[in-house]
Structure formats: structure tokens, C-alpha cells
């Protein structure tokens, strides 16, 4: 049985069809990439799969149960999200923001015990933000703040993690570090990760399975060779592409040319 699946999913925003008759099955323990040009419905799809939006028709089910039948709190224990935009107007410290990732697991007035603190500290170490801990997030740079929000999602410790261009503002070191961390969770903890990428090569380097969207529909989904292929890329992005095996690291890479 698939972990998260949607059938005949359709969503309209202000009379515009954003998602049209989508069928997707996500299995546990894989790293999925959602790819496609700007405005093709990637973020909307994530919002539908995470239960932030409800579909006009069709359904999303998590472990065989309709998503709308979960409470928000139950969902927050199953699904974490690193959003694309993460403006924070109030001067919470980075450590406070990360701690908020534990809220779905703690009762309202529960004191935060040593075990919880330990867990938060471990994630902050792994994501390289310990030194940011006491600083107000309002004073951090965009990339630093993104790492803090990323850490919050990891601390949430959910079986499913959505990344909506979650590394868009990070330097190459932190990009690879955080994605490596996520990849290890996929392998060792059987976490399921669904990530929106603009950078096809980064997706190729990290992900197991690929979903290519165009105008709210799935063009092609499956493994790397099938999706990251010159033909669908030309169709969706309107660029010429060539896929080759990179001789240094032995990975599939793509080069592009604007026609």
C-alpha cells in the first residue's frame, strides 16, 4: 500500500485550473523530486498533499485514510514542511524557532524536558546552526533563516517531509550538507521526502524518483532515466538538453541550451 496517494486531484484558484486530474502514489522510504517550470502547480501540489489546501475534486489519502479526516495536530506529527517563503516578523531566537518543531508532540502546557532539549540540540548541530541559537531570527540572513526553518522541520521528526525549494538560498556546502542529511533519513529511517527543485542536476544527484509537472498535469513520472530525458525536458521547459554520465562522480548530469 502506498503511504501518500492522490486520485483524480483537481484544484482551481480564482477560476484557473492549477492542478488537473492528478494521480500520484508515494511509497515509504523514497526521495521524490517534483520538477517543472514556474507556475506549473508544484507548490499548490505540495499544499494539497500536506492538507493545507483542500481539493475541488479527487482525494488525497495518507496510509489509506482521507487527509481531511486527520486533525491538524495529527497531520503535523506525520508531515513536516520547509516552505519556500519564511519571513518572520518577530524576534524569536533561532533556538526558539527550532523548538517549535516539537510542539505537535508536546501537550499544551508541558514543560520541555532534557530529552527534548537534547533532541533539538542534536538537530541544530547536524544542521550547523548551534552558533545561531541565541540570535533573533529577524537579524539572520536569508540563508541562515532557511537553515533554521529546515532544522525546525527535521526536529518535527515526521515520516513525511516536504521541501519546497528548501535549499534555494543556501550556499553549496549547506545545500549538500542538508540534502545529505535528508538522504540519510530516507535510507536509515525510511522517511519519505518530496522535494520541489528548480535545479534539475541537484535533483538528479539526490532523488530516487521524479515527477515532472506541466500546466497542472503529470507529464511523466518514474526513475531518473525515464524522466530526466531530453524529450520530456524539451517539451516541458522548452530547452534542448543532453544527459551524460559525469566522469568524476559517476552521476547522471544534464546540460542545457536555449534553442
Amino acid at each position: 500500500m502506498s503511504l501518500l496517494s492522490c486520485k483524480n486531484l483537481t484544484f482551481t484558484y480564482r477560476r484557473k485550473r492549477v492542478i488537473e486530474a492528478l494521480d500520484i502514489d508515494l511509497e515509504a522510504g523514497f526521495f521524490y523530486a517534483i520538477l517543472g517550470p514556474n507556475g506549473c502547480g508544484k507548490t499548490t501540489l505540495i499544499d494539497l498533499l500536506a492538507g493545507h489546501l483542500s481539493p475541488d475534486s479527487g482525494s488525497v489519502s495518507l496510509q489509506g485514510r482521507e487527509l481531511s479526516r486527520f486533525s491538524r495536530r495529527e497531520l503535523a506529527r506525520k508531515i513536516a514542511l520547509v516552505p519556500q517563503f519564511y519571513n518572520i516578523n518577530f524576534p524569536y531566537t533561532a533556538a526558539e524557532i527550532v523548538m517549535m518543531g516539537r510542539y505537535p508532540h508536546l501537550s499544551r502546557f508541558a514543560a520541555i524536558d532534557a530529552g527534548e532539549k537534547e533532541r533539538v540540540k542534536a538537530v541544530m548541530q547536524a544542521t550547523d546552526i548551534v552558533s545561531l541559537g541565541p540570535r533573533p531570527v529577524t537579524e539572520l540572513s536569508g540563508g541562515e533563516r532557511q537553515r533554521v526553518v529546515f532544522a525546525r522541520a527535521l526536529v518535527q521528526d515526521t515520516p513525511i517531509l516536504f521541501l519546497d525549494e528548501a535549499t534555494a538560498n543556501l550556499d553549496i556546502n549547506h545545500t549538500l550538507k542538508l540534502l545529505g542529511l535528508v538522504k540519510r533519513n530516507v535510507k536509515e529511517k525510511k522517511q519519505t521526502v518530496v522535494a520541489v527543485f528548480q535545479d534539475l542536476n541537484l535533483a538528479a544527484a539526490c532523488c530516487d524518483r521524479f515527477i515532472l509537472l506541466h500546466q497542472g498535469r503529470v507529464v511523466v513520472q518514474g526513475e531518473l532515466d525515464k524522466v530526466l530525458h531530453p524529450e520530456p525536458i524539451a517539451k516541458v521547459f522548452g530547452v534542448e538538453a543532453k544527459v551524460y554520465e559525469d566522469p568524476c562522480f559517476g552521476r547522471k548530469q544534464i546540460i542545457f541550451k536555449h534553442p
Binding site: D47, H52, Y86, N89, Y92, T93, R135, V149
Partner: protein, 343 residues
């Protein structure tokens, strides 16, 4: 620069200190005024009324001055100051804007419109409280209209929609108030005076109206403080961390508006308390609403009590409280704003 959160002990001391300071201020201020009453006398009278001290024979004017004239006014200003600050905490959190205030949704215009109508038509069917109750009803109707307008897209009451809806409704109501003033002939002075705010000759019933909303409002805000913290990060973040955003936003918004509406109804329009106090207190205790709400309440109470005492006892003529807070708060706000711009 790192911010060191004040620890639990300092926070407790701050909270306790403010409570004591407020109590002391109430006693001191009760003795002040046209007729000076020694503090010892004030304490003795309050003690007797509470049944703690045994009754003694005193000047029969004293209890009237203390219990019928001064304390109702003083306690009302305390509760309104606290209520406005508390309401401001919620509005700033939900509207994701550290500079929002309790009147952002047009509650003050609604209350003013209701009061102006009552004054224009000389409505007296609720006795002496007609104006207050009309103001309250005006504020409630405004809230309903704003929520209706802001929620028309079927979404989760985004802060942009709420602010815009508030501005639109408030603009219409302001025009309505102008029309009423234009039609009001000799009543116009009464209307204008009400709008400028005052605590003069407030009664225990006024205090009750504010307290009935402000005290449970405090409880509700403390109960939902964690959700409010998450909501202040944005709706999507709050939802993904387990907050039923539409429901909690609605509950907190309605609660905060009720508190603000009760405040405006008894005092007229008192600006800047709900805007400045949460902002200032956040700078000291941090943005966590569980800590912020009680301190903001106490500081707001102290501030408005002081302002009302200044106008009641120190100034040669009583200046309307709304004018006084705006005269002091406005320049102070400029200063804060400038500091923000400079970073």
C-alpha cells in the same frame, strides 16, 4: 547581536514587581485629587470595605469620594489600559505586524459610530448606559462586517484581507460619523467630546463591562498562547506545525475585538496604548506571547492609570484622555519608528 532571554526568576520578579507597583499606584492615586486623602486613610477605608479591618467612625464624605467617585474611575482606567494592551498583543500576532493595534479592524470607528448615533438621537432606553451599549453594539457589528468581507475568498482570513477590510469599513464609518456631526446641531460638542475619550464619572458598571471581557480574554490568550506564537510566524507555518489556523484565528480575533470594543465603549477612543505597549514590552521579555500578555496588561494598566491621573489631578483643566495619550504616544511612536528604520 545575541539576545539573552530573561530567565524564569527575573520574569517572576518582574511580574510580581509590576503587580505590587500597580496596587501601590492605585492606593496613592486614590488619595490624590481636589480633596487630598492621606494614604493611610485610603488603605484603612479599603481594608474596612473588604472586611479585613474593623469599622471605625470617619468623615462620611470619605467613603463617597473613594468608593463612588475615585475608585470606579481609577479601576476602569486600569482595566481599559490593560485590556487595550492585551488586545494589541493579539492583533500584532495575528496580523503578523508588530505595529498593528486593537483598532486595526475598525472597532473604534464602529464604537464611535454607535455612540454618535445614540447621542444624536438622544437614545435613553438603556438609561445612563445607552451610549456605552450603543458603542459596544456598533463595534460588534463592525467586527462581523469586517470578518464577512475579509473571509469572502473562503480562505483562512489572511492578515492582508483583514487589514484591508478593516480600513474599508472604518473609512465608511468615519464618513458616517462626519455626517452625524453635521446633522447634530447643538449635540455636536457632546459627540466630539465622547470621541476624544474620558474616564470622568465612570462607574462600577463601566468597570464590570470591561472586566467581563478583559479577564476571560486574558485567560483565553494564555490558553492559546502557543498557537498565537505559531500564528505569528505565518499561516502556512502555523498550519504545518499543527494549528487549526482558521478556527484559532477566529477565536483569538473575536476575543481581542470584544476586549477592545468593551474598552472603547466605556472610555471613548484612547489611542497608542494598544500599539505601543505590546511593542515595548516585547523588547524586554521577548516575543513569546505567554510571557508577553501578562506583562503587557500590567504595563498598559499602569500607563493609562498614570495618564488619567495626570489629567485628573495635575493639569489645571481636564484634557481628554485620548488627546493626552496621542500627544505623548505620537512623538514616542515617531522615535520608535525612526529607530526601526535605522535598524
Amino acid at each position: 547581536m545575541a539576545r539573552k532571554n530573561i530567565d524564569g526568576l527575573s520574569y517572576g520578579l518582574l511580574l510580581g514587581g509590576l503587580v505590587l507597583l500597580l496596587l501601590a499606584a492605585i492606593v496613592v492615586v486614590t488619595g490624590m485629587g481636589y480633596m487630598k486623602i492621606p494614604f493611610s486613610e485610603v488603605i484603612r477605608m479599603i481594608g474596612e470595605a473588604a472586611g479585613v479591618l474593623s469599622a471605625t467612625k470617619v468623615d462620611p464624605v470619605l467613603p463617597v469620594v473613594i468608593f463612588d467617585v475615585r475608585l470606579p474611575r481609577i479601576m476602569t482606567s486600569v482595566m481599559v489600559g490593560g485590556g487595550l494592551a492585551l488586545s494589541g498583543v493579539v492583533f500584532q500576532g495575528i496580523l503578523l505586524n508588530p505595529l498593528a493595534d486593537p483598532y486595526t479592524l475598525g472597532v473604534s470607528s464602529g464604537a464611535a459610530f454607535g455612540a454618535a448615533l445614540a447621542l444624536l438621537f438622544n437614545l435613553t432606553f438603556w438609561g445612563a448606559y445607552s451610549v456605552t451599549l450603543c458603542a459596544f453594539v456598533g463595534a460588534l457589528i463592525t467586527l462581523l462586517l469586517v470578518l464577512r468581507l475579509a473571509g469572502s475568498d473562503g480562505g483562512g482570513l489572511s492578515s492582508n484581507n483583514l487589514i484591508l477590510a478593516g480600513v474599508i469599513i472604518a473609512a465608511i464609518l468615519s464618513a458616517g460619523i462626519s455626517l452625524i456631526k453635521f446633522l447634530a446641531d447643538e449635540q455636536v460638542a457632546v459627540i466630539i467630546f465622547w470621541l476624544m475619550g474620558s474616564f470622568a464619572s465612570r462607574t462600577w458598571a463601566d468597570l464590570l463591562l470591561v472586566a467581563v471581557f478583559a479577564l476571560p480574554g486574558m485567560g483565553l490568550i494564555l490558553y492559546y498562547s502557543r498557537e498565537l506564537n505559531l500564528l505569528s510566524l505565518g499561516e502556512r507555518a502555523a498550519a504545518s506545525l499543527g494549528v487549526d489556523t482558521r478556527r484559532v484565528t477566529m477565536i483569538l480575533l473575536v476575543a481581542a475585538t470584544l476586549v477592545a470594543a468593551a474598552c472603547v465603549s466605556v472610555s471613548g477612543i484612547v489611542g497608542f496604548v494598544g500599539l505601543l505597549i505590546p511593542h515595548l514590552v516585547r523588547g524586554v521579555v521577548g516575543p513569546d506571547n505567554r510571557r508577553l500578555a501578562p506583562i503587557a496588561f500590567l504595563v498598559g494598566a499602569l500607563l493609562l492609570l498614570s495618564a488619567d491621573t495626570v489629567t485628573r489631578t495635575l493639569l489645571p483643566r481636564e484634557v481628554p484622555i485620548g488627546v493626552l495619550t496621542a500627544l505623548i504616544g505620537g512623538p514616542f511612536f515617531c522615535y520608535i519608528y525612526q529607530r526601526r528604520l535605522k535598524g
